[in-house]
């Protein structure tokens, strides 16, 4: 069953991230995904996350698809103009990839090619609109297509942003532009998320709460300082700081969050931050397996 069908049936879905390698050796990335086969509905293949140059999202999506796994093709506006983006979207559809997550993308300054020229011809909203247009049989120029893609479009939202109103406005815009599901930035504050969902619910779009594996107190503090919209409460930092076994504690934190968030949303999106091997345990302990 596809992600789209699962959501249509009202299933609570789980997605996870797959990171393409820095190089042409895809074995590792595929092994990590294989590890989660059957436990996770679909895999977000990141598009050069944090502006670090990696193997293309499209290629890895294709390789996953070939293995019978369901990819979510992440597309950012940082590196490609509307011609390349639409071209890649058509290619994805031709290769059987239907889930597309449209993002603006981080600035090149943050990555390993800070000298590159960022593109940003489109932004996430106009990219969604372009993709939705392709799915209706025409490109941005209004030209008819030979073969029409059947996309299931997604977008991201950051419920912890302060102020949150602009996020909601943009989410609304994204929904209007064609987003059919939303994945969120990492959530650590279920109360605030509940308030956000109250405001977001009328849009009627499924939301997958982002769960990031907290690896240490240091990481939590770093995120609090540097990642907008993410705030790890002191209590969780303390849990991590005082933990004897950090992996155990991390699983505990994730499970606790999932339990709290599950009634509020339609799915979760797991970001393992390299601790992929812990995800099966997280899913088991939170009762999401099978």
């Amino acid at each position: 069953m596809t992600l789209r069908a699962a959501l249509a049936q009202g299933q609570f879905v789980v997605t996870a991230e797959a990171s393409p390698p820095k190089g042409t050796n895809v074995a590792g990335a595929i092994a990590e995904v294989e590890h989660l086969r059957g436990r996770v509905q679909a895999f977000n293949v990141t598009d050069q996350q944090s502006s670090v140059m990696r193997l293309g999202s499209l290629a890895l999506c294709y390789l996953l698809k070939e293995r019978g796994l369901e990819p979510i093709f992440q597309v950012t506006c940082r590196d490609r103009n509307r011609i390349a983006l639409q071209s890649d979207l058509l290619s994805a559809a031709a290769l059987g990839i239907e889930n597309v997550l449209c993002l603006t993308g981080d600035h090149v300054k943050l990555g390993d090619h800070p000298q590159a020229k960022p593109v940003f011809d489109l932004d996430s909203v106009s990219l969604l609109r372009a993709a939705a247009g392709l799915a209706q049989g025409q490109d941005m120029a209004g030209k008819k297509l030979d073969g029409v893609p059947n996309f299931f479009l997604g977008a991201v939202v950051s419920p912890g942003a302060d102020p949150v109103e602009p996020q909601l406005l943009k989410m609304e815009k994204k929904a209007q532009a064609g987003a059919e599901f939303f994945q969120t930035q990492a959530i650590f504050a279920p109360d605030a998320f509940a308030r956000f969902m109250e405001a977001a619910r009328p849009m009627g779009k499924p939301v997958f709460a982002g769960i990031i594996m907290l690896k240490s107190a240091g990481m939590a503090r770093f995120m609090n300082r540097n990642v907008p919209g993410v705030h790890v409460p002191d209590r969780l930092i303390e849990v991590m700081e005082t933990a004897k076994d950090r992996q155990e504690a991390s699983v505990g934190v994730a499970v606790e969050l999932i339990r709290q968030l599950r009634p509020l949303c339609q799915g979760i999106h797991l970001m393992a931050m390299g601790w992929d091997h812990l995800l099966p345990r997280v899913l088991e302990q939170s009762g999401l397996t099978g």
Binding site: L58, A59, N81, R82, L90, D146
Partner: protein, 305 residues
Amino acid sequence: MPAGSNLEAVLAAGRFAVTAELGPPKGTNLGVVERKAEILRHCCDAVNLTDNQTAIVRMSSLACAIHLRRMGLDPVMQMTCRDRNRLALQSDVLGAAGAGVRNFLCLSGDHQQFGNHPGAKNVFDLDSIQLIQVLAGMRDTRRFQGGDEFTGDIPMFIGAAANPFADPLPYRVVRLAKKARAGANFIQTQAVFDLEIFGRWMAQVRARGLHEQVAIMAGIVPLKSVGTARYMRDYVSGVVVPDAIVSRMEDAPDPKAEGMAIAVELIDAVREIPGVRGVHIMAVGWEDVVPILAERAGLLPRPLI
């Protein structure tokens, strides 16, 4: 280290190489690619997949190249600098190389004004020569452009385009030299119609010894109609179509047949020019003609190496 592509092997064996162009569809219909690829399968050594040619949105050259690879053909993945920055370009190369694509052709790309998205923002983070340098850097020094080193090999046979017919003429060979120096292995030229200009350019190429550094393949465009001939003469920058050729098309009872005859004559002629090591046939939507031309020019069967 050889890249391991068929095109590279044919050239290395000293055989006169043939490549042809395949335009991806404006949509998701892979069947079109498969149909065209089957036409080209036995009459050329490698197939160029154009990258949103003339800035019209089409399926990406990456997807098509991977698909051709899966079909057992040798793709040449064209890459332009118009739509992608260095991150995307390198990322696409990794994806393609990971799927077995070996030939990459580096182009600046037509300006978006000519396509159907004239309002698009162009990128041009790199130019074609810099793209060659970046790819050659990945291949030869195992470094990404950003400076990071990596392990393992990315075998690549790097191509570039050359235009012997555009202003300023004396600069054209200088530019070829730069492409060779940047790391290109093969060159596909703009469509040759004017053998005199082409011959002069080749003489300069030989004088600089460039034909030994890069394999030069002459571009051949079969003319389908009188209209095409006139259009190429009057509106396509950097293409010189002598009036004599246009007249031949005009006077011919069957312009299509005349177009094929002219193409065969051109192939025969460029083959005689020292330093020309192959032809690149750009049939722009008329792929059916490629096997006929190859046959009539005596280029079949293609070597199996």
